[in-house]
């Protein structure tokens, strides 16, 4: 296979898009995965707790 300008452009135009869709799907799955719900809920409220020294 000869890699010339058109090949690379074609690759960028097609697979770049699939990559985008795939990435989006993975992110959505992670975001809405049920067992992550509690994690996220904790994370968002925990920063408001008292934090004057490290936890050991």
């Amino acid at each position: 296979m000869i890699v010339d300008h058109d090949t690379v452009v074609h690759f960028a135009k097609s697979w770049g898009l699939f990559y985008l869709i795939g990435f989006f799907a993975v992110v959505c799955v992670y975001t809405f995965w049920p067992s992550n719900r509690q994690r996220f809920r904790d994370a968002k409220s925990k920063i408001l707790e008292r934090d004057d020294k490290p936890c050991r």
Binding site: V9, A12, K13, L20, F23, F24, V27, C28, Y30, T31, F32, R39, F40, R41, D42, A43, K44, S45, K46, I47, L48, E49, R50, D51, D52, K53, P54, C55, R56
Partner: protein
């Protein structure tokens, strides 16, 4: 400060300083009469000043063994001071450079003071000096609090902060001497770039080690933004600055990228510097300090995750919208335009998330100028990301490009978003760090807020007007079908706006000076414990879980 370090660490700090100073000495010797040698001398002086600090505290008692039981905030404190110092310097240069456009004789016939040389001192001073120091300082603070662990390393955080400032110093002094690569927002020459790589890798390692030691199961989203800022800026910096120096004793180098490729690499860098330096990093600040100050958790954590990945993914494609209608291949221009428009979705998701966090606490926004700083920043963020997507559309860009509209857009983002969120975060952080109940003068915070808002609005409106007027004048035809205005005609129309923008910038500078004074006095004021608690009122966790509906 030095008392936080053990005797061994003090010695290694001195050793490191001597090593860097020796490199500076070598540069000074081999550089001859090139600016390279002058930079060697600057490096030596820089190391000498820090060494003087270390030596003056060398005999201080050693720290207690249980340093791990406390957060390491000294680098953050110094970082805040450096950030405000750079803000005043960078904004002063901005006002001066703006004034030169209206009154060109203000260069006083000097080479070092001409527009082309001091313009990058303004951009570097505010973006890298003010913004960069604020990012380093706040990221060190946030990563410790959200990971509930002390910062990794004792000297390495100092190396990051001070090394970064050495880079900024080399950059700015270089411009005065005419040392520049002419790549916008990446002007410093090869040796400063190499030094920044060393500093940045250290920054990455410090941040990653701190995250790795964390006592929380989940990495809080603010750290995601800081991490993306650190990682992607490293990639951008290295790729864009690949260059061949003409010799290792001179400052001049040639970028390896030719013509069109250089244009694409430069604006891929330039646009993503906006994305990951001026957006991602400051969103990190937003996602920590806004909930803290409002005492309300972020509206939707999931939305913040989605917008994080959206921003990280989309921005990288958008750079070519800086090159519409140029010799860049057409499909790359279209790709850049499409992704720029799509970027609006994650950008507005972030802005909406922040505003909905404040929903139900508008009384606090009304009463607390610090929170108002952050709210105004979010509004400007929403406006300028919309404007950015709009301007990336090819026909719009044909009007806006090369005009002051672009400058106005950049400043809506830089003044309205970056600077306001920084001031809001610093006014939250400073009392907490120095354990004061509140800022030295809440009235001065209020004054700063209104000066900043007035300055931003005057500036941005002046540039919108001048940009659109000039863009339209350039393309106006007479009935006979010839161009109606000469270039000089369009320049003459700009003068009133150039004066107005100087006034707007001056107001913003005045606000920054007041802010610096306020921060200085807060840090210097003798400690006065609050009546009930040693935690700052605004950060008191007592009501954290109770939304003030």
């Amino acid at each position: 400060m030095i008392a936080q370090l053990t005797l061994n660490e003090r010695t290694s700090a001195l050793g490191l300083l001597i090593l860097v100073a020796l490199t500076g000495a070598l540069m000074a010797v081999i550089g001859g009469d090139d600016p390279f040698a002058a930079h060697g001398v600057i490096i030596i002086l820089f190391c000498a000043v820090i060494a003087a600090f270390v030596i003056s505290g060398f005999d201080a008692p050693e720290p207690r063994i249980d340093r791990q039981d406390s957060y390491y905030d000294d680098p953050t404190k110094v970082g805040i001071g450096l950030s405000m110092a750079w803000a005043v310097f960078g904004m002063f240069m901005g006002v001066w450079v703006a004034a030169q456009l209206a009154w060109p004789d203000l260069a006083f016939d000097g080479a070092w003071s001409s527009f082309g040389r001091i313009r990058p001192t303004h951009t570097t001073g505010v973006i890298f000096g003010f913004g960069g120091n604020a990012l380093i300082a706040t990221s060190f603070h946030v990563v410790q609090r959200t990971s509930r662990v002390r910062l990794a390393g004792q000297i390495s955080p100092w190396f990051v902060l001070l090394g970064y400032n050495l880079f900024c110093l080399l950059a700015v002094t270089g411009y005065f001497m005419g040392v520049t690569q002419s790549k916008e927002y990446a002007e410093p020459e090869w040796y400063a770039d190499l030094w920044l790589v060393v500093v940045w890798v250290t920054y990455f390692v410090v941040f990653l080690r701190t995250l790795a030691r964390r006592r929380e199961p989940h990495i809080y989203v603010a750290n995601w933004y800081f991490m993306a800022f650190i990682v992607v800026v490293a990639i951008l910096h290295i790729v864009n600055n690949l260059a061949v120096p003409i010799s290792f004793t001179q400052s001049k180098s040639y970028t390896i990228w030719p013509g069109v490729q250089d244009a694409m690499v430069q604006w891929w860098y330039g646009h993503n510097a906006v994305a990951f330096f001026l957006t991602a990093g400051f969103l990190g600040m937003l996602y920590y300090y806004l909930p803290k100050r409002a005492e309300r958790p972020i509206f939707s954590y999931r939305l913040s995750i989605l917008s994080f990945w959206g921003i990280t993914f989309f921005y990288m494609w958008a750079g070519s919208h800086h090159l519409h209608y140029t010799a860049l291949p057409h499909w790359v221009q279209n790709l850049g335009m499409t992704f720029s428009v799509m970027l609006l979705v994650p950008s507005w998701a972030s802005a909406g998330n922040a505003l909905l966090t404040l929903n139900g606490a508008w009384d606090k926004v009304r009463d607390d100028a610090t929170l108002r700083f952050m709210m105004a920043a979010v509004v400007f963020y929403g406006l300028s990301t919309f404007e950015g997507s709009f301007m990336a559309i090819r026909p719009v860009n044909s009007l806006s490009h090369y005009t002051d509209w672009t400058v106005g857009h950049v400043h809506a983002g830089a003044l309205g978003w970056v600077a306001l969120i920084t001031f809001g975060s610093l006014y939250t952080l400073v009392p907490a760090l120095w354990k004061r109940p509140q800022m030295y003068s809440p009235a001065l915070v209020e004054a700063h807020f209104w000066l900043a808002i007035a300055g931003t609005l005057i500036y941005v409106f002046a540039m919108w007007n001048s940009g659109i007027i000039q863009g339209l004048m350039w393309r106006t035809y007479t009935e006979e079908g010839s161009l109606a205005y000469s270039f000089v005609d369009t320049l003459v129309a700009m003068y009133p706006y150039y004066i107005a923008r100087t006034v707007g910038g001056a107001l913003f500078l005045l606000g920054a000076i007041i802010g610096s004074y306020n921060i200085w006095m807060t840090a210097k004021r003798p400690f006065m414990p609050a009546a009930t608690d040693d935690v700052p009122q605004a950060l008191s966790p007592a009501h954290a879980r109770v939304p003030a509906e």
